[in-house]
């Protein structure tokens, strides 16, 4: 028996030479790599015969194109579209694609849907998208993305080249996606909707890129607004809303009854909510950078910054208007505190009153919603939007444009706004009964008067990093929790901001 086994091994071994062994290892190594490469294409590439614009793009034939590039015929060199001027390239290349007869596209269109806290609203939108898919014979996979997941999902999708065909996200993501040539020019779709319904000034401001083109189509305007317990304020003999930031702190102190109810439910933590203090500083006259957004200028405003630092420090230590925990609140801290009736003021999109409407309707009449208070120098009320964008090299580009147009239906929006937590995007929506309720009127006001994010500063990568690094919330934390001197923390923050802007100065 042993002899037989040896003979078999010997036969196998004779067949397996060193060269064959190395080749076998090579094949084994190639298998997982091939599998990994296969997984990268989560959205199916079109079949060779499904390249709608390839023939209509003569320039592409002149350049030696890789197979992957051939599968993305409507985009000219996405990586080079870093400057706004270069961003014109995708549009020029897109024209023939739009004119070419629509070719059948197989596979599934991936749609990342912005998940709100309002389930009926999300369901309504999902059904509408699915209805379009059915009508247009396009398989659509809707993936709901929670607000706090975007920061992880989008960078990962960019690096793994698995961006969805249609992306619903905050307009601020355009800052990342457009300069990298990752999203398509939607100017034609925008113009078409604008002609029919006329975009609201706020929506237009957030959708229009410095090159005059639109790469996103807003589906709702939004911003952190002042949400107030009018009933509690009136009980204390105060008239809402507070007009200035100083008044806000005063009202908070006068109306609060700790530990049952605290005045100002505003985060001082490392969350995007904590960056409200950036706007407060601007309203006191602080400018973070020069007009081009290149050189940091924060260090030139010690007097103005000191006023704000003092205001917050006094509010924290003396007036004690902040509820305990604000230094480490996460994104939902202010929601939870206000909704549970533990704070008088909060700054939030209207998801708070929307939640109250659905869960504590008795509380709603006592809740007021207002634009933010003003500072001594100016009133800073940014407007943002949740918006749709289309992947630049999506095989579903034309279909995605159709979907956007389909979603911008007047009839659909009639039921959309009453369910929504967002404000109008076009003038045609102003009269929707949804905005006639007292707590929703502010949405129209916001859409009409809101300024683009960062205003009066410039929104760019340096601005974004200053915010995501939470320089200003950390500056305030150092004063209120570490008892550091205002001048000292101001100096540290100024150096940090300077360093951030210097990193991007050459870009």
């Amino acid at each position: 028996m042993r002899h037989d086994d040896d003979a078999v091994v010997s036969r196998v071994a004779r067949r397996l030479t060193r060269r064959r062994f190395v080749a076998l290892l090579g094949v084994t190594a190639a298998l997982p790599l091939a599998a990994a490469c296969g997984q990268q294409a989560s959205t199916p590439a079109p079949k060779p015969d499904a390249k709608p614009a390839e023939a209509a793009k003569p320039a592409a034939t002149a350049a030696p194109a890789a197979p992957a590039a051939q599968a993305q015929p409507t985009v000219a060199k996405p990586a080079e579209a870093a400057k706004p001027a270069e961003a014109a390239k995708p549009v020029e290349a897109a024209k023939p694609a739009a004119q070419a007869p629509a070719a059948p596209v197989s596979g599934t269109m991936i749609f990342w849907m912005y998940k709100t806290r309002l389930d009926p609203f999300d369901k309504y939108r999902t059904e509408r998208i699915q209805a379009w898919g059915k009508q247009s014979n396009v398989a659509v996979e809707i993936v709901e993305i929670g607000t706090s997941d975007y920061g992880k999902r989008i960078p990962a999708a960019i690096e793994s080249k698995t961006m969805p065909d249609v992306l619903e996200a905050g307009d601020d993501w355009t800052q990342l996606l457009q300069p990298r040539g990752l999203i398509a020019d939607l100017s034609a779709v925008y113009q078409q909707i604008d002609k029919d319904q006329k975009f609201a000034p706020g929506a237009k401001a957030v959708s229009t890129w410095p090159d005059g083109k639109q790469y996103i189509i807003p589906i709702g305007t939004s911003a952190n607004l002042l949400i107030a317990r009018d009933d509690v304020l009136k009980e204390a003999g105060l008239t809402p809303p507070p007009k200035t930031w100083t008044e806000l702190f005063d009202h908070s102190a006068m109306a609060q009854k700790p530990p049952r109810i605290y005045g100002l439910g505003q985060a001082l933590s490392n969350t995007s909510d904590g960056n409200l203090w950036v706007e407060v500083l601007q309203s006191y006259g602080v400018r973070f950078a020069d007009d081009q957004g290149k050189k940091a200028t924060f260090g030139n405003f010690p007097k103005e910054a000191a006023e704000v630092i003092q205001l917050v420090a006094n509010g924290y230590a003396e007036k004690k208007v902040f509820p305990p925990g604000v230094l480490t609140w996460d994104q939902t801290g202010d929601n939870d505190a206000f909704q549970s009736g533990r704070t008088i003021f909060a700054f939030n999109p209207l998801s708070i009153p929307a939640w109250i409407r659905d869960n504590k309707p008795d509380m709603l009449p006592g809740v007021g919603t207002y634009l933010k208070p003003a500072g001594p120098k100016m009133h800073v009320q940014p407007v943002g939007a949740v918006a749709m964008s289309v992947k630049a090299d999506s095989p579903f580009r034309d279909k995605a444009n159709e979907l956007i147009t389909f979603l911008y239906d007047r009839e659909y929006f009639k039921d959309y706004w009453p369910k929504s937590q967002w404000g109008p995007t076009t003038e045609a929506h102003y009269d929707n009964p949804a905005f006639s309720q007292s707590w929703l009127k502010v949405r129209v006001e916001l859409a009409k008067t809101g300024k683009p994010a960062a205003w009066p500063d410039v929104q760019n990568q340096a601005w974004a990093e200053m915010n995501t690094a939470f320089v200003i919330p950390r500056m305030l934390q150092a004063v209120v929790s570490d008892n550091k001197k205002p001048e000292e923390v101001f100096q540290t923050a100024a150096e940090e901001i300077d360093k951030i802007y210097k990193k991007y100065e050459k870009a």
Partner: protein, 311 residues
């Protein structure tokens, strides 16, 4: 002499010819490599490649969605000049040392208790494993709600029994934030120490304790001269693994405090996350763990040396 010499030299002289004639697969070394190749391949793809990519990235200006350009040591100087990096290293060390010490003490106590025979021992063994079994996210969210000053159970309880009038800010006061994070982390992780030590205890022969008892040794002496030496290998392995895990812990800090207030709980993993994922500067973010690497490397080499010395 000649015969001896001939007898010895002949096989040596024949060896190369014999090796070349042997079938490829029958060579022990080749078969060994063949059997090892799947593991080596997995290590190459899942360990060596990401690891070397991270090191390479730390020398580039790689950011999300952009090509990487070589920038030499610029990222390292950028990170080193940031006061937050120093703070993060300091906090990581404090977090690791204190947490490991507490986990060791509690784990040892758990193992010693559960090594005794008593009613309900099996239930208690399973019960004490619950924190370890819970997903980290769930465990730390429970602690977050437990310690919350506005709606947390602990503050409610303390207020109800009249011990406090205003809520305590466990997670948002610089003085108590780090101890609170360590407490939550220790609660979740000490069962691993307990289970590992318990397994080690059960391998110590009972005769050693009996002999010590005959010699008049008390409990402390038995623990010091039998239990600890008997557990030496387990302790070294557990300490090595736990130190690496604790030093690299991200969840407890990120979920409980996000590194705040005022960076008082900022550890290096959260700093790297902020730089890499939040600010999308992957090159700069990679420089942070790359700088930590020698520190962890030295620690591993030292502990491995101790283990090898025993062998």
């Amino acid at each position: 002499m000649a015969t001896y010499s001939h007898g010895v030299s002949a096989p040596i002289g024949r060896r190369p010819a014999a090796r070349s004639r042997r079938p490829f697969l029958q060579r022990e070394g080749v078969l060994g490599w063949l059997l090892l190749s799947p593991v080596l391949l997995v290590m190459l793809v899942l360990v060596v490649w990401p690891f070397s990519t991270a090191i390479w990235m730390s020398f580039t200006d790689k950011s999300i969605g952009r090509e990487a350009n070589w920038v030499g040591l610029a990222n390292f100087s950028q990170v080193l000049s940031s006061p937050r990096f120093g703070r993060a290293i300091q906090n990581s060390l404090v977090f690791t040392v204190v947490a490991i010490f507490l986990k060791f003490v509690l784990g040892m106590a758990m193992a010693l208790v559960l090594n005794k025979a008593f009613f309900g021992r099996n239930f208690l063994r399973a019960y004490l494993l619950v924190p370890w079994v819970l997903p980290g996210f769930v465990a730390y969210m429970i602690w977050r709600w437990f310690l919350d000053p506005l709606q947390g159970v602990l503050n409610y309880a303390l207020t109800d029994i009249g011990l406090i009038t205003l809520p305590l800010e466990f997670l948002s006061s610089p003085a108590s934030a780090m101890p609170s994070v360590i407490l939550a982390h220790v609660w979740r992780s000490f069962p691993f120490f307990g289970v590992a030590f318990l397994a080690g205890l059960q391998n110590i022969p009972a005769e050693q304790y009996e002999a010590a008892a005959v010699d008049g040794a008390n409990g402390w002496q038995k623990f010091l001269f039998i239990t600890i030496p008997g557990l030496r290998h387990v302790i070294l392995v557990v300490l090595m693994l736990a130190t690496i895990w604790t030093f690299n812990a991200f969840e407890p800090v990120y979920l409980l405090t996000g590194g705040g207030p005022a960076d008082s709980t900022l550890v290096y993993t959260v700093l790297a996350y902020e730089m890499g994922i939040v600010n999308m500067r992957l090159g700069e973010a990679s420089a942070v763990p790359v700088m930590i690497l020698p520190l962890l490397g030295m620690f591993i080499v030292a502990l491995s040396g101790l283990m090898n010395r025993d062998e």
